[in-house]
Amino acid sequence: MAEQKQQIEEFVPNEYSAGFVTDIESESLPVGLSEDIVRQISKIKGEPEFLLEWRLEAYRHWLTLETPEWAHVNYPEIDYQEISYYSAPKDKKDGPKSLDEVDPELLRTYEKLGVPLEERARLAGVAVDAVFDSVSVANTFQDKLAEEGILFMPFSKAVKEHPELLKKYLGSVVSYRDNYYAALNSAVFSDGSFVYIPKGVRCPMELSTYFRINAANTGQFERTLIIADDDAYVSYLEGCTAPMRDENQLHAAVVELVAMERAEIKYSTVQNWYPGDENGVGGIYNFVTKRAACRGESSKVSWTQVETGSAITWKYPSVILQGDNSIGEFYSVAVTNNLQQADTGTKMIHLGKNTSSTIISKGISAGRSSNAYRGLVRVGPNAENARNYTECDSLLMGDTCAAHTFPYIEVKNPSAQVEHEASTSKISEDQLFYCKQRGMDTEDAVSMIVNGFCKEVIHQLPMEFAVEAQNLLGLSLEGSVG
């Protein structure tokens, strides 16, 4: 058995194929955080007064907060004065232009990452907003979408063109008072994606934002806001990568979703930020606040996430089920290898009547990593007949990793039905030997077994990304079985 472990460890380290750096001149603000920096960001972006005021309020509030320490993760204290809060490829007048004008070096970067920015790549059927460090650099299919009245644009453009929508919805789901990182993001966010689907419109293609951190010593603080008006539908996907660097980088995003009457939002994430090396050096700190409000009756929000990257992942995509008969779903695969740490899960807040939620969480731990599921199911006093089903499964590889489950259940209405199931298993040597005896090599066998374990979640992903996610799972765990 020891022999097998040794043999398997030869496959490590696995390759992080997105780890290259794009050699492009960028303009960054000096490191450090102050009211002045917040003002400068707002000025660079040419923002209206109300937004600057909002940023400053958030910043002042952030100053009164302390780093949250309840998560099951360990890391050295972050020096917020050592981070640059804005970095953009040079020679940007304002936001993205047509693709012909985009720096070819940038196009090549996204090509290398397998992101179709060329609109001729119609087979993919995906509209992409590409966010490079702090700004959006390309945004495809905008015209086609505009025909349907759909707004899909960089956040900074929405600020200028649709301030009334921003005023109405920004911070309405995640207040800057929500938590430490949400406050920080609200003060210094630089770009992100904005989506508005008008009443009765089914968005005809997948919308996607591709986040890329390139510059060193910068943080990425993006903000995504998606509004599906009455009877609207949208499926949205985000992907993330970053170069391999020895220092940790901070990614503190905020995502707000609003679903009105009978609207449906499907939000999928394939997160592959640089996880650090096998000794835990470098990697992204992924501290993200994601929340959806099912405001309208019979609305539905579904979060699907495949989290394979980042040194530390701290995120809880949640749904506030306000509208009667609204539905919240959370499907998650979180993989940790080497010294990665993840504390992730969801919150389902049942407020309306006949609301239901489903949570399927699959945690896979390998190496010396730590993987925690943390979830809250809260049923308010007026939420008659609320239902929740939760399933948390953990898969351990080897005997030096850890899996934890922290379920919180608060029920204030006696008609609620809340179910929780949990399991922990290991990839057994029996399974591996069985596959090998049928001619499969270890890597293929591990990949197959892991994909089987995650099947229910992978099935939720849009077709184009399910394949990518499956490959990613195999890569992230290459050689990690003992």
């Binding site: 097998q4 005896q437 049928r438 001619g439 499969m440 090599d441 089987g452």
Partner: protein, 254 residues
Amino acid sequence: MLEIKNLHASVDGKDILKGINLTVKPGQVHAIMGPNGAGKSTLSNVLAGRDGYEITQGSVVFKDEDLLDLEAEERARRGVFLAFQYPVEIHGVSNIYLLKAAVNAVREHQGLDELDAMDFLTLVREKLQLVKMNEEFLYRGVNEGFSGGEKKRNEILQMALLEPALAILDETDSGLDIDALKTVSEGVNALRSQDRSIVMITHYQRLLDYIVPDFVHVLSDGQIVKSGDKELAKELESKGYSWVTDAPKAGQTA
């Protein structure tokens, strides 16, 4: 086909196989019988290349290659097949996915093109008949919720698909009722051929009524203590293992 010479193997420092000698020629069916703890499963695991066994002495040559030098998957691709005593369940992986991956791994080794989904389906449907399995089995998780008989039939289905040169059947009869035993045996018999060797490992003589071996060997305390034809199995059945295991070991008589 297979030549085992003076094979010694141990697990965690404890000697289990203590000098096995066995020659299996193409087309032959050998039965290896023996009491519990004799080393039967160890022998099949060592031949298939399972980790955790230390080979302390001896050699195993399979089709002119040193088998012990190869990884488990390399042996499988060269035609060594083990029908497991306890086939494992793999949650969420459909049976057909595993079967196709296995067949294509072998084909790739043989320099053949991978079978696509349609060709594979045609092939697997034909083989399903052999073990009287319903197509629905293909789409269930690997061995998930299969009965004992279904698991064993699934093993023989894999053997039929992979067409191995050497099939090792490890206690294929265990846990089977008489009907399932018949089905499985008929499947195996249909796979007997001039160029395929079969090594059956079993505790009971019962299986040998259905799959009639050319040779029977008795394994005891890590050595083959007696060899003969199918009559030996009958004799064992009536006299018990103590008849051979308590007798002086073959070749050690004065």
